[in-house]
């Protein structure tokens, strides 16, 4: 074996792509130098389009850089690509499992390709099955596994033998917190036992915290490199917790803090409070102990705080302007007839008052209106019950979150609420209309933004708006006026003639939301809108949602980012089709066992609740 001082040594890498449709060159990697020492766990962090996947593909020899030198395990790339490929294991972002083949057949295929001997196989399989808990499903076709299990199977295929270098491309993208934790347990166990070198890419900054070294990429450029502590240190002494007034939702304080550009770099709701990263004033942070009327107390900086400081320094990016969203409230509650009858600001029994009890923020919007009423909702697919007797209500102007592991019934519930899927049983009222009997009428009053970009890429922004406006029955002056309004609200003015397929990611999402809100629906449904977007774009997205809700639009949203539950007034947690928790984030954390002495973040609360419920089901089965 040759001596390998560094597992990966990349110097001044440039990789450009020509995008056929637009004839533009994309600089996927721009003078990137990365050194991965052997035997370490290294993370490649950055939002979508940062260049993470491109870098990993260069390391595998599946792509070639235009400039720079790249050595992997002592072999020169692209010259010795096969030698590298014989020695590494690579799990692509979308691990291409053969869906017609069973779990066992998929693993066998990779064992054969890697030349794992029958003797070695026995022991290895036992271990992989133990780690992944796939043993009961060995005969199941890979296509019939849930998303989290597919990822685990992909990892098992990658690990049929112990490689010298393991490359994982966003192994936890689109995976729920439970599966995410399991995947990381597997990786860490391997590193402890076999001392292999691992390079993992991720959009989750908290995962980078687990790694020895972190490389932060942004738009093809290396933003920072170092240990997680070194990255966090950028925000050291600048990070605080702000406590919102008793009657205010944390997201409202957060949104006001973000507006304070002179003082604040970043703010996120966290555990019923708000994490704030302040701007450095001169040599030290400002000594003011209060911002926007909320008292501050210092806290330990996390990697995400450091990352936000770096992003703001490099880009000086301002967040978008959401004032236009606040001024224009969508169609009033005329359909419900009783308008403000239930009175404002009485808190609606939200235990700790950080729900929607703040009448001053939502003058006009009647708090008591029930916009969505779900009772004993059931959906079956053959013998399989995807949603099992679920009941909840959503009130006007609420931000309501649906959370759950993969296969929990979240998407099914969501589709039934939007009228895309008929229910098998129970009652379902949306905006006062029974969805089971009058779906078309309900649809006029709801807006829907799907997970994927579902607009016509070769139509311009304006053409898309005109088309969807027509589809919603808007015409003439009214349509023109609505288009002008949403263009202003989502800061798309000046982009009217751009083909929507050529818009940058953030603009695409804004356009999708603009289309969803074109007919001024009372309820907006959003399906995992923040998957794969960078923290900055997520802040901006949530600020828009906060503004929309303040103006009276009801928002129902699904998300994989548990910390985003903190933006919601109330959330439900589902697993195996059953509703496990319903309430404000604080109530859900309390249900998971949070006390003043033992604080939980949303992710811990979520995992706690789901695991406890699963434990009970197993006990019940055993009994």
């Amino acid at each position: 074996m040759r001596q390998t001082p560094a597992a990966i040594s990349a110097q001044g890498i440039h990789k450009r792509f020509l995008v056929k449709e637009t004839k533009q060159t994309v600089h996927a990697l721009d003078d990137v130098s990365i050194e991965v020492p052997a035997g370490t766990l290294t993370a490649l962090v950055g939002p979508d389009g940062a260049g993470k996947t491109t870098f990993l593909r260069l390391v595998t020899g599946l792509m070639q850089a235009q400039e720079g030198s790249l050595k992997v395990l002592g072999y020169e790339l692209p010259k010795d690509a096969q030698a590298v490929q014989d020695r590494i294991s690579y799990m692509p972002q979308r691990f291409g499992l053969y869906e017609d083949l069973s779990v066992q057949e998929n693993i066998d295929l990779y064992a054969d390709l890697h030349g794992v001997s029958p003797e070695a196989r026995h022991e290895r399989y036992d271990r992989l099955m133990r780690m992944t808990n796939l043993a009961p499903f060995t005969n199941r076709p890979a296509g019939k596994l849930s998303g989290g299990m597919k990822q685990k199977l992909g990892l098992a295929c990658t690990l049929v033998r112990s490689p010298q270098l393991l490359l994982l491309d966003e192994p936890t993208a689109g995976v729920d917190p439970l599966s995410r934790r399991e995947l990381w347990d597997i990786v860490r166990q391997l590193i402890a036992e076999e001392h292999i070198t691992v390079l993992v890419s991720t959009a989750y900054l908290d995962e980078a915290e687990l790694c020895a070294r972190v490389f932060v990429l942004d738009h093809g450029k290396l933003l920072a490199a170092g240990t997680p502590e070194e990255i966090s240190r950028n925000a050291q002494g600048l990070t605080y917790i702000a406590t919102p007034p008793a009657d205010e939702a944390p997201r409202l304080l957060q949104s006001r803090l973000l507006d304070d550009e002179a003082e604040v770099i970043d703010a996120v709701p966290h555990g019923g409070e708000v994490r704030v990263v302040r701007k450095k004033q001169g040599d030290a942070a400002s000594t003011v102990q209060e911002l926007e009327g909320a008292p501050l107390r210092p806290t330990q900086a996390r990697i995400e705080d450091g990352f936000m400081v770096l992003l703001r320094e490099k880009k000086g990016k301002r967040l978008g302007d959401v004032s236009a969203l606040q001024e224009a409230a969508p169609a009033g509650p005329q359909a419900n007839g009783n308008g403000n009858g239930n009175g404002n600001g009485n808190g609606n029994g939200n235990g700790n008052g950080n729900g929607n009890g703040n009448g001053d923020q939502r003058d006009g919007a009647a708090q008591g209106d029930t916009m969505i009423e779900v009772h004993d909702l059931v959906r079956k697919f053959g013998d399989f019950t995807a949603v099992d007797r679920t009941s909840f209500n959503v009130r006007r102007g609420e931000i309501f979150g649906l959370l759950g592991p993969n296969g929990a019934g979240k998407t099914t519930t969501f589709r039934m609420l939007c009228g895309l899927l008929p229910a098998s049983g129970g009652s379902l009222q949306v905006a006062g209309v029974n969805l089971r009997t009058a779906r078309a009428r309900a649809r006029k009053r709801i807006g829907y933004v799907s997970q994927k970009f579902a607009l016509y890429g070769n139509l311009s922004v304006k053409e898309n708006l005109e088309f969807f406006g027509g589809a919603y029955g808007l015409t003439g002056a009214h349509l023109r006026e609505r288009i002008a309004t949403v263009l202003r609200q989502f800061e798309l003015e000046g982009q009217e003639e751009t083909r929507s397929g050529q818009l940058p990611g953030g603009f695409k999402q804004r356009l999708a939301m603009a289309v969803g809100l074109l007919h001024a629906p009372e309820i907006l449904f959003l399906d995992e809108p923040t998957s794969g977007t960078d923290p900055l774009a997520r802040r901006e997205f949530w600020r828009r949602i906060t503004a929309l809700a303040s103006a009276g639009t009801t928002v129902v949203i699904t998300t994989h980012f548990m910390e985003e539950a903190e933006y919601c007034d109330r959330i439900v947690i589902q697993d195996a089709g059953k509703l496990l928790a319903l309430g404000t984030p604080a109530q859900v954390r309390a249900q998971a066992g949070e006390t003043d002495a033992h604080r939980l973040n949303m992710e811990e609360a979520f995992i706690g609740i789901v695991e406890r419920a699963r434990g009970q089901t197993q006990e019940a089965r055993a009994a």
Binding site: F95, L101, D112, G115, E194
Partner: protein, 392 residues
């Protein structure tokens, strides 16, 4: 342990090649058998084609309706009609007036009008018997065939008249005696049925379908679903990936050949005059060509939808329209003929029809097999060149 494995793998050579290939082929066969869409294209569609072309589709004209306007009520005239009735290809229909006949023609109730004028027998006696035949010319080839049948029926009636009355005493029919009579025989398709002509051509269509279309689809699927990305970062060689696609679909194609031969012999009674060995050999060559086309298309498009469209347009449709399956290439415009002559399917079509219906013609066997072998080498080489372990 792991070091040891890797060393062995890198030096694995032939053993590693065999093991990986076997594993990939096994995977391919499993996928083929488990995917209903693949099975439909691989086995269902060939069967449907055999039945459509064998039973459903025919280029023959049988019992063509022809209106007969009989203005001459003489026994001779009636005798002519009886002669027409004897022909299995014609269904004469007596009508009262020319106008009625024309109405029937306009309504496409009949394909032709035979007009027997009132002075027919009189003029026939004078040696100048005339009838008028009007044909529905919208379908020109059908009109030609009907003209042939009507003329043939009239001639054979005249012949019979002459035989019966060689002296020529009874009317002028005898005046025909001494004219040259053409006795025609249809060689290589003695029964003159298009089934004999179509079924051998079906072999070409089915090989193209399985080799080019199905293979393009399954290979493009691997690119599209990203299954190759993880596969490539293993000791696997691109040749192994290609061979693993070629071997199972080659077998499916040969299955299609067996099906066609069985159907030809036992269902449609098409003779196979040529040697079965040479027939099988030429099919194998063409199958390799088709597989080459499919693999080149899929590896260069990397997209199932585009690959299936291109495979359909570039291989299946031309094999059906331009290879001489339906239309004789010598009768088409030069441009089409040039395109047709560039298609490997054309050479295979020529060869297979000859092998089925005429027997072993060694000149054609060497010429066409040579062309097919050259195509196979070029296309498979091209497939190897475009299938690389690269994503950019």
């Amino acid at each position: 342990m792991s070091q040891h494995q890797i060393e062995r793998d890198a030096s694995g050579g032939a053993a590693g090649f065999r093991r990986r290939l076997l594993s990939l082929v096994r995977k391919e066969v499993r996928q083929l058998l488990r995917d209903r869409a693949n099975l439909m294209i691989g086995f269902g569609l060939p069967l449907v084609l055999i039945f459509i072309f064998g039973y459903g589709l025919s280029l023959d004209v049988k019992s063509a309706p022809v209106a007969v306007v009989l203005e001459d009520a003489s026994p001779t005239a009636f005798d002519i009609i009886a002669g027409l009735r004897l022909s299995p290809y014609l269904a004469p229909r007596l009508v009262d007036s020319q106008r009625e006949a024309e109405t029937l023609m306009n309504d496409r109730e009949v394909d032709g009008i035979l007009h027997v004028p009132n002075d027919f027998s009189k003029r026939l006696a004078a040696g100048d018997g005339r009838v008028q035949l009007l044909l529905q010319g919208a379908d020109a080839s059908r009109a030609n065939i009907i003209r042939g049948y009507v003329t043939g029926a009239l001639n054979s009636w005249a012949q019979k008249q002459a035989d019966r009355d060689p002296s020529g005493a009874n009317g002028g029919a005898g005046s025909k005696a001494g004219t040259v009579v053409v006795v025609d025989r249809m060689w290589f398709n003695a029964a003159n049925t298009s089934t004999w002509y179509l079924v051998p051509g079906l072999v070409v269509l089915i090989m193209t379908l399985v080799g080019a279309f199905l293979t393009a689809l399954v290979m493009a699927r691997e690119w599209e679903r990203g299954t190759l990305e993880a596969l490539f970062v293993t000791p696997v060689h691109p040749v192994e990936v290609l061979l693993a696609k070629i071997i199972p679909y080659f077998a499916v194609g040969m299955g299609g050949l067996a099906l066609c031969l069985f159907a030809a012999k036992f269902l449609f009674g098409v003779p196979i005059y040529g040697s079965l060995l040479i027939l099988t050999f030429s099919c194998m060559l063409y199958l390799l060509v088709a597989l080459g086309i499919g693999l080149v298309i899929s590896s260069s498009t990397k997209n199932q939808f585009v690959a299936s469209q291109i495979a359909l347009l570039a291989s299946f449709m031309p094999a059906m329209m331009l290879s001489g399956f339906m239309f004789d290439l010598r009768n088409v415009p030069v441009v089409i003929r040039v395109i047709g002559n560039a298609l490997p399917a054309t050479y295979f079509m020529e060869l297979i029809k000859t092998l089925f219906l005429a027997g072993d013609n060694w000149y054609l066997i060497f010429k066409d097999c040579g062309v097919l072998a050259a195509y196979a080498v070029v296309l498979l080489g091209l497939a190897r060149a475009v299938t690389r372990k690269r994503l950019d």
